[in-house]
């Protein structure tokens, strides 16, 4: 077979001369970073997108009030704001903008740009999908839901050209960290209005040739499903400290293609690495492999309106029968066994309540009326990605072995998988959640009643009362303690069964400098440089 392939491919090799220099070697010389970015962005208007690939691009073209640090997740660096301060109860914040701040067309970045941006994001007719990220601001939710129409009542003001004042509806100790999320980034008022009204969706302003940003890079080329190229922005306030001349984002959807391209010397880093390639890479190319914790959790979502699953004892039994360390060792390589829902972040560490205890599981199941699984309804677990099948099969086997319960696996395309969950038309679903910011509320708030991401049919008055109370606490440690209590309730009730804490598995060329493990994986582009 190998000889035959050689015969087939030999003429091709004669037709082409060998490449003298890999694309990475050439890019190293030119100071250009080549990156796999998984998917074509929906748009570069960051007020209109929700995805991770978009966030990578937006981070190169725009900058929030506070900047990311290359090494520490908790370290805040100056961004569009040079400094910031708050009142004692953390509800009023004042940001002083960089005096040298410029858009990539040379216009100054002002506090009015930020006010305009937040107004645009919250304008009901714009229908920005992620507007709720701004609901921390006083009256923002009311304005977005048309309960008030006067924007001057929303807690954001420009005190002068360089001073932005934000009044929050409750204390938010992590506001500086929150402003690092792209939903808080500014849009250039003068350019947006030149191409349409504040409420116009998807005008030309964010397209090649028009888009103007305040980040370290500016857009120079955009070809669908091919490449997006950005070069250094000379007007950036900190341009002297930008280590790269440009970045090329390749929207490679097939992770195997991406890995091959990396090993063929066409990329500096990959977006991901398929789990089944990890072992080969560990053996053959250990110098490239990166496995780092990521602020995300995989879990099984349960429909608690179904018979049997509406009983907390059954849900606990299902959870106790999952051997998480075994799963992580053999199937979800690099991932850590989940000990609760929220992974450790900063000074928050949830109680490690999840354990593997088949005996206790069987006891609980018997108490609920299903001894040895007898009479338990035959449910199916929904999956969408092929990569989820192996872990779903492992769960299936564990429940059969330890509880005598038979569960089917049902594969659906992505759209059907999502809509089945949103309409509660499922039994169990293999799912995951990536945090938006470094605070446990990004994992806990979604399990409240009516939240669009809950999709379990479960809600609990006590859980919501504690979350509300925690939101009013100005003292950070008290607040985290209360959130821990809320998480304990959630883990006792188990409308979801956490399985593992995410790890980012990917490949990185060793000559990339300034790239360190970060929980949110938001590497500040300006800190990167390439050794020849």
């Amino acid at each position: 077979m190998r000889r035959l392939l050689l015969c087939l491919t030999l003429p091709l090799s004669i037709l082409t001369s060998c490449q003298k220099e890999t694309e990475v070697a050439r890019a190293n010389r030119e100071g250009i970073f080549l990156m796999g970015n998984s998917a074509e962005p929906k748009s570069l208007d960051h007020q209109m997108v929700t995805g991770v690939p978009e966030s990578k691009l937006v981070g190169a073209l725009f900058e929030g009030l506070v900047g990311d640090d290359a090494v520490g997740d908790d370290v805040m660096q100056p961004g569009a704001a040079a400094s910031w301060s708050s009142n004692e109860d953390l509800t009023e914040w004042t940001f002083k903008l960089q005096p040298e701040g410029r858009w990539s067309d040379g216009e100054p970045v002002t506090a009015n740009d930020f006010v305009f941006s937040y107004r645009r994001m919250l304008t009901p007719d714009l229908a920005a999908p992620y507007a709720e990220m701004l609901y921390f601001i006083e009256n923002a939710e009311e304005f977005n839901k048309e309960q008030i129409t006067d924007f001057s009542k929303v807690g954001v003001k420009a005190l002068d050209d360089l001073t932005l004042f934000i009044k929050l509806k409750e204390p938010v100790p992590f506001l500086p960290s929150l402003t690092r999320h792209y939903t808080w980034f500014p849009v250039p008022k003068h350019v947006v209005l030149q191409h349409g009204d504040i409420a116009d969706r998807f005008t030309d302003w964010s397209e090649l040739g028009h888009i103007v940003g305040n980040g370290p890079f500016k857009l120079i080329k955009w070809r669908f499903h091919d490449v997006i190229e950005v070069d250094q922005n000379p007007y950036y306030w900190d341009a002297a400290n930008v280590g790269l001349n440009g970045i090329r984002f390749f929207p490679i959807e097939n992770p195997y293609t991406e890995a091959r391209a990396f090993l063929a010397g066409q990329l500096h880093t990959t977006y991901t690495l398929p789990t089944d390639l990890i072992r080969t890479v560990k053996e053959d190319y250990p110098e490239y492999l990166r496995q780092e914790p990521y602020v995300g959790t995989t879990f099984v979502r349960l429909n608690t309106t179904r018979p049997a699953l509406d009983d907390a004892r059954v849900r606990q039994a299902l959870s106790l029968a999952i051997n998480r360390p075994l799963l992580c060792e053999f199937i979800m390589e690099g991932y850590a066994p989940a000990k609760s829902l929220t992974p450790k972040m900063g000074s928050y560490e949830p109680n490690p309540v999840l354990e593997f205890n088949p005996e206790k599981a069987r006891k609980l199941l018997a108490e609920a009326g299903y001894p040895e699984g007898a009479g338990f309804p035959r449910y199916s677990m929904l999956i969408s990605r092929p990569s989820a099948r192996a872990s779903a099969e492992a769960l299936q086997a564990m429940w059969k072995e330890h509880l005598g319960i038979l569960v089917d696996i049902q594969n659906k395309d992505w759209g059907s998988y999502i809509s089945a969950q949103q309409s509660l038309d499922f039994d169990m679903a293999s799912a995951g959640w990536i945090g938006d910011y470094l605070d446990p509320t990004t994992f806990l708030n979604m399990w409240t009643e009516g939240n669009g991401n809950n999709n379990t049919g479960w809600h609990d008055a006590e859980f919501e009362r504690i979350l509300d109370e925690a939101a009013q606490k100005a003292e950070p440690q008290d607040r985290l303690d209360m959130l821990k209590q809320a998480e304990d309730i959630l883990m006792k009730e188990q409308p979801l069964l956490p399985v593992s804490w995410y790890s980012r598995n990917y490949l990185l060329q060793p000559n990339v400098k300034g790239w360190h493990p970060l929980l949110l994986d938001n590497h500040p582009w300006k800190a990167l440089s390439l050794e020849p």
Binding site: L4, L5, L8, T9, L12, S13, L15, T16, C18, Q19, E23, E40, K42, S43, M48, T50, G51, P124, D125, A127, A128, P129, Y130, A131, E132, K145, R201, F202, T203, E207, R223, F224, H225, D226, V227, F250, I252, E253, N254, Y256, T257, E258, R260, A261, L263, A264, G265, Q266, D413, W414, G415, S416, I418, S419, A420, Q422, N451, G452, N453, N455
Partner: protein, 308 residues
Amino acid sequence: MFRYFLNRLGQGVIVLLVLFTITFFLVHALPAGPFQTEKAIPEHIKERMEAYYGLDKPLGVQYVKRLGTLGTADLGASLRLEGRDVSEIISQAFPVSLQLGLVAMGLAICIGIPLGVVAAWKKNTILDYSAMALAMIGICIPAFVIGPVLADRFGQQWQALPAMGWSPLSPSYWLLPAFTLGLVSAAYLSRLTRAGMLETLNQDFVRTARAKGVPEGQILVRHCLRGGLIPAVAYIGPAFAGIISGSLVIESVFAIPGLGTHFVKAIEFGDEPVLTGIGLLFGILIILANIGTDILGAWLNPRLRSSR
């Protein structure tokens, strides 16, 4: 003849209308809407998004409206890559698919037809068996096996050719995907050419030519090739349209920015304007390819001309 082709074109327009109607209603029957995202979009926002694109109107109204805009040659805007015109998407992706398809078909013709001619000429010899065994392998091994193997060898291990990407001016980017894409067609072409050539080689006029002492090469090229190619030519037209519309696997394996990726993404996200736009383009291509094949067939085969 002219009337015949005019007639065919008229039929083509009806086919396109049916194609659009079926695609339109099938997309709307998909469970996923264009605004289905992993992180749920709040209901009040989703309603406004749907109102913005007129998706809140009854399906019949939407259909008539879309038909009206299509009548003015406006393909509409994508719902997935919101705000981008379908014509802009097609104008970027179609040249890539076309170029890839042309190179693949060129390679298929250059490999398949000579192989078929040689196999027919040296019938039942080791040359014939090897050529046909090669063809069978080409038909049997799918592109998703050949593609990654080639990318792995030439790209990753020998670093002789790029393992992914596309550059319209640099042949090194075309070779692996075009070869992978063209292999199946080359295999079919060789088998069809062999069959066609064998039929012609058994004709009386060939025996006469041989008896008159015409050199074997001249018999093959001048006397038999034209007639022997008829089955292959009939295959090339539809196969070419198929190559352009069916290069999805190759596009995924080599990360090529062609139409296939847009097509599949449009299905995944219920992006009706892109789906109908590309569907119509494929429809036009297949119709034109069939008409082109008919013209070429008529030129090659005088009997066809008189029968019309």
